[in-house]
Symmetry: C2
Subunit: 333 residues, 2 copies
């Protein structure tokens, strides 16, 4: 297993210690239980945004904690849901008196544990709402999911809701906006190579030298089909066409187009995929109003890419452009 780690059981804690050391100016990290929270406490009257999920998808979610995005994030062990305890403590630490909005990717463990944490927080008189992402069009149910998996849209959701919360939107407004974003975005991904979970020590699946997996999940869960490696333009089409036809996106609409790297794919390849994805969007009569290209929701060192399209209006574009200051996404401040 070729990894820059010490012991597999220390990976999450030591990575958090590294984050703490690198970003002590803006993040505070709790180690018992694990959560990442903004150093400047949530402003009074501002809804606290809390997300979380298994580790191994970095920078998501800890790298999105900061002004204009999340107030707290709970990292589970690699590819393992965080516990209700973590989510409860993170919610309590982040709460600024205006309630907590949980942003939850649709995986059975995440959903169940965030539900339990919500109940625990409500027992203490804290108002809690949850927004789900289930944007992956590849499969209807999967290894870890009833219904569709939550993937790339989560990054956009966290940015947009973070901006709205910063502008003072209340809990009910954020819940409604989150549901609208959920209904307006779709994603699909693929992999050229598997990845290795540190405590397992071997690749979670096998792909032959000439194979790729189309529709893969962010934990290496099987996708739609395993096919011979294709050119980047064909790959972009295999991902974009199902994404665009699912919602469906309609000619004349404006979108945010996000081409994501799975962790082991160089940026030069992501731009080649983006080139074709943008061309396909244009052919469908869509205007790409904003773009994001980079590795933001990953699967350890997996080589591959995913595309996310989000239908947007001036409200969402304004929220996208609003200042953000996190380790992984930063502009305007």
């Amino acid at each position: 297993m070729k990894k820059l780690i010490n012991a597999p059981e220390d990976v999450v804690r030591e990575a958090l210690e590294g984050m703490q050391a690198a970003h002590a100016d803006r993040l505070r990290i709790c180690f018992d239980p694990f959560y990442v929270v903004r150093k400047d406490a949530t402003a009074k009257g501002k809804v606290a945004l809390v997300s979380g999920g298994g580790s191994g998808h970095e920078p998501m979610h800890g790298g999105f904690v900061g002004y204009g995005m999340l107030d707290a994030a709970c990292p589970g062990h690699v590819f393992t849901s965080p516990t209700p305890d973590q989510m409860y403590e993170a919610g309590k630490a982040a709460n600024g008196g205006a309630g907590v909005l949980q942003i939850v990717k649709n995986y059975t463990g995440d959903v169940m544990n965030f539900d339990m944490a919500a109940d625990m927080l409500r027992d203490e008189g804290i108002a809690v709402e949850s927004v789900l992402t289930d944007d992956d069009v590849a499969v209807e149910d999967s290894l870890y999911t009833a219904g569709r998996r939550g993937v790339g849209l989560t990054v956009l959701m966290e940015k947009l809701l973070g901006a709205a919360a910063e502008k003072g939107m209340d809990l009910a407004g954020l819940k409604a906006l989150g549901d609208r974003i959920r209904a307006s975005g779709r994603s699909m991904g693929m992999a050229l190579t598997p990845c290795t979970v540190p405590h397992l020590g071997k690749p979670s699946f096998e792909l032959a030298e000439n194979e790729m997996e189309v529709g893969i999940g962010i934990h290496g869960e099987p996708g739609r089909h395993r096919v011979p490696i294709a050119k980047a333009d064909e790959v972009a089409a295999m991902l974009m066409e199902p994404v665009l036809s699912d919602l469906p996106f309609k000619a004349g609409e404006s979108i945010i187009l996000f081409v994501n790297g799975m962790g082991g794919t160089p940026l030069i390849e992501l731009y080649i995929v983006y080139r074709k994805a943008a061309e396909i969007a244009a052919k469908h009569g869509l205007t790409v109003s904003r773009s994001l290209v980079g590795s933001y929701i990953t699967s350890l060192e997996m080589a591959g890419t995913s595309v996310t399209a989000l239908r947007c209006d001036d409200t969402l574009l304004g929220l996208w452009d609003a200042p953000v200051n996190t380790p992984a996404l930063r502009w305007g401040v």
Copy 2:
């Protein structure tokens, strides 16, 4: 060869087309010859900063073009120096009347071609100075270099000189500042896996399942030694100790600490390396005043890391904190 590309000969052009599509708001890309230039022309009276080098190290350098950093960048073919023609055209396009500062990594082809381009620009009455980076302590000469290789310090150099140029520093001042930065920074890298240049189609070298290469260059050039895989903490020490003892950095000094990913290494591992690198710096009595963790100067999909330490004072810290707005580094704006 598992890559998201179309044809190997189209990789650089198509990636540039993707960059153009994704960043049309701030970049303009010339395709004959290849160069990336700020969309807003260099302000009158501002020195134009131009860099470049082989492709395959993305986001360097094209991803660093924008306000507060580079005015133009010349991408060569993968791991191949750009031509004097590219550098000349980029310099002419970026020149705002106050001259051109070339930032050149110490590789024989880059140095020779930037020299020729400088002569061509001077023939047209444009003042040109050059600053070299040769911060890699691993080897004295290498496959492509007389003297030390220029690596991670280049990223910091481009940020710092870019900020100084934006503040109105003249060509002579920038040259002197660049030489000071060159003398104040050191780097070293390692790889767990090789990478594959698209037009070669196979890995540029071999590493056994239990081996790593310490002191490797950003083109997979041999380093100091090939050794059994070690823990992340040991790797951090193998890189930091030679870096710190070379300058040498002295107790009481302040540094910018940059832990870079080689392209195929997940962020979670880089934070584990950063954790130990920062601890080693502290043990040497150094204050880490600023940090950068991420994949900014890469070798395609190579798995590995490099560390860069730059001695800094309040002037350099002020330049580091100054606003920057490029595809790959952005804050304050």
